[in-house]
Amino acid sequence: MKRGARIGIFAMLLGIATALVIMTSMAFLRSEPITVDYTTAQPKGQPVHLTLQTVSAIGFGDNPNWVSYLAESPQGKWVHSTLWDLPAHTTIDVTLYQYDSGGPLRNQERGVVQGVKPTLNGKLFSLIDSYKGNGVGHTFSIPRLGINVPLAGVNGNAKNFCNAAPCPLSDAHNTIKFSFTTPGPGQYRWQCFVPCGLGYLYGNGGPMSTLGYMGGFLKVVA
């Protein structure tokens, strides 16, 4: 074989290897959930409406029986994503539909509201006793902003209990509303602090340990 031919073969193999590496990397990056963009939904400075729901089982995808958050895109479509682009220094009006059932919290500290003034079905609240009623299903917490909102669960035996996302408003749910102001640009972790990954040790595996289910980022952009 001539030298030129060998160089050619090697270049080809190198190309294939590089392509494989790039394709694998891309596949990984794409395995992350998509980001929902709320920055262009409103004129600059106007409050942004963020509508979320929690469901007991997502019902589709690789892990149909995992609990999950969903977000409503500005176009009014429910998206399975926990990554949101939000404008900086802007009021975010959050409407949260809790469709999942609840129970006693592992750590009652998470039953205390921090950082915001939320309403549960129209009534202000600052603490949920998770031993009473249907308990707490999830929380919506942004640790770096000092925000913690416990989400009261619905009756798990209700006839119209929602079993697969996206859940319609006709199913049993609680409505939690609150507002907060975004800080300067950066990526801020938000997550649920209720160990709701059933079937995993301490309830913190599975959906609690996978981006796109029970935690994500507020991607605050200027």
Partner: protein, 654 residues
Amino acid sequence: MASTIDTPIAGRHVSTRPAGGLGLNRYQNVFTAFVVAAGGYLLGHYIGNVIGSGYVSVQGGGQNDVAIVLALTFGALGWLLGIGALNYPLAKLVGASPEYPPTEGGWMRYFRFSLDHKVVGMQYVIATLLFLFTGGLLAMAIRTELLNPTIHVLGPGTYIAVVGEHGTIMMMMASSLVIGPLGNWLVPLMIGSRRMAFPRVEAFSLWLFTAGYMVILTALPMGGFPTGWTGYAPLQTQAGGGMDSYLVGFAIIGTGMVLAGFNLAATIVTCRAPGMTWGRLPIFVWSVLATAALLVFATPTLICAGLFGILDRTAQTAFYVNEHGGSSFLWENLFWFFGHPEVYIMALPGFGMVGEMLPVFTGKQLFGYKVGAAGMIGVALLSFFVWQHHLFQSGINPDMRPLFMLTTELISIPTGFIFLVGLGTLWKARMRMEPPMLFCLALYFNFLIGGITGVFLSDVPVNVTVHGSFFVLAHFHYTIMGGLVFAFFGGLYYWLPKMTGKTLNRKLSLAHFWVMFIFFNLTFFPLLIVGLLGQPRRVFEYAQRLQPLNDFASVSAYILGASFLIFIANFVWSIWIDPKPAPTNPWGSRGLEWQVPTPVPAYNFEHIPVIVSDPYLYGVPDAPPVADFGGASSPAYAAALAGDTAGDGAARSE
């Protein structure tokens, strides 16, 4: 007896034996191995689903660990079956005559089950390089994520998966990096043997190693594992399916390590040529012997710990779950009981190689040969008594802290011997600045930083500040990469001309060295500081004030990564595209392996050599040759037999 030791060898090798058994070996190669492995994987998965799908945990989480573990185990078994590694024991089992794999077959023999230690050695070179470059690519991903303290490229889940995969792949690779390729290739040649003590075990450990590589890679599509290479429980018990790849993969690699260790120790003890006394054993062989002891005694702990982890995750036992009577400390202790000897598994062979090369390139005798060998044995012994220094802040009994501080600091005394040997050999030398020599000098430079930072870590009060930080990370990269990986590449530049028969391009070799050396230090020295300034390991978010140092380290890391492309280019160019034949002994070495023709014949030595003098008599006027290759007719041979110096094993080596 005389007739057995001096049997003419030409044409005697295994290929002339009748093909016993089913004669399957000649049809088996990596492609059949892939096919059978895939079949095994599917079968295991199916069985696992039949057994395990009723578990409550499976129903809740939708994840069946029984199926994953069985699939990976059966897949690995299929790989061994498909390559032909099990033909011999299976034939024995049914009473058929044993089978001898073919030795001929050009380049295709590198893709087959082979019993020639030189073929296995080259297979190991390729396998470990594949491991190394895979891990290296993952390191690039880590540094990319750390370019910005709060803007994320990978996201937390992918980042943790990449970190764990990088660490595990690199640790698996590094524990075989020298022992596998160079240990297998060189040890028989260096001690004057025609083969390893157990050629089938040797090949088996190689194919286990490759199986482990594939098993650990399967973690990525399953979402990786969140525990890093240390696999701490109970996070291990909580983790997703990728964790099974970690546990099964480490068990497979660990089994290969134990087998390789036994084989190397047996070879060194029993297969030495006549006259190869313990006092004449090359220093590299001493390092391999010390490492083999560590492999044999430390690794079983890891395999057992992994088995407990697999049982916790599948059969719902509770070895590591406190709430059910287990203990999270159990894994920490078992893991580090293996893990700290493991660190020296990754250091000693590097010391040995440097000790082998320095005399050649300084043209001097090795200074303090006995001290060097003693140092390696001392390090190996002490390494079993230091493991709790990883657990200083963990909440174990504080009474133990001074003891483990002492043992850890004591280990710097035998490590100091290695420095004494190196520095003493440099005294008034005539240094030839060839690429292997540069890598040797770099090892001393890097390992000094790695060793000194190790003393800081062993000091309990300082450990409070630096435990679990980037300081630790930079410390062990300085010892493992700065030590072992530098020694490995030095060794490749030194021995590849003998292994491949081709001369490597000197300019590219030098370019590789300088880029790698400079940017290795520019990557990891800033990371030492970053750790001291408070950045914990394995985080995807860090303090804003540490961004400049992190970015500097990232850019340096990219260039460090690129330096390996120079090596690949050099390797491919010199070996394949524009090959230039290498002389038999280009460096003027007295090593036994350099006295045989290039390429080395399948039988190594036509007559078993008789070792007549010390290996490092460089610059000694009228120094006798290292060995007599004349066979039974030579007077040295009769003298060696009469003196009964070493070679009872050699006499038996067919």
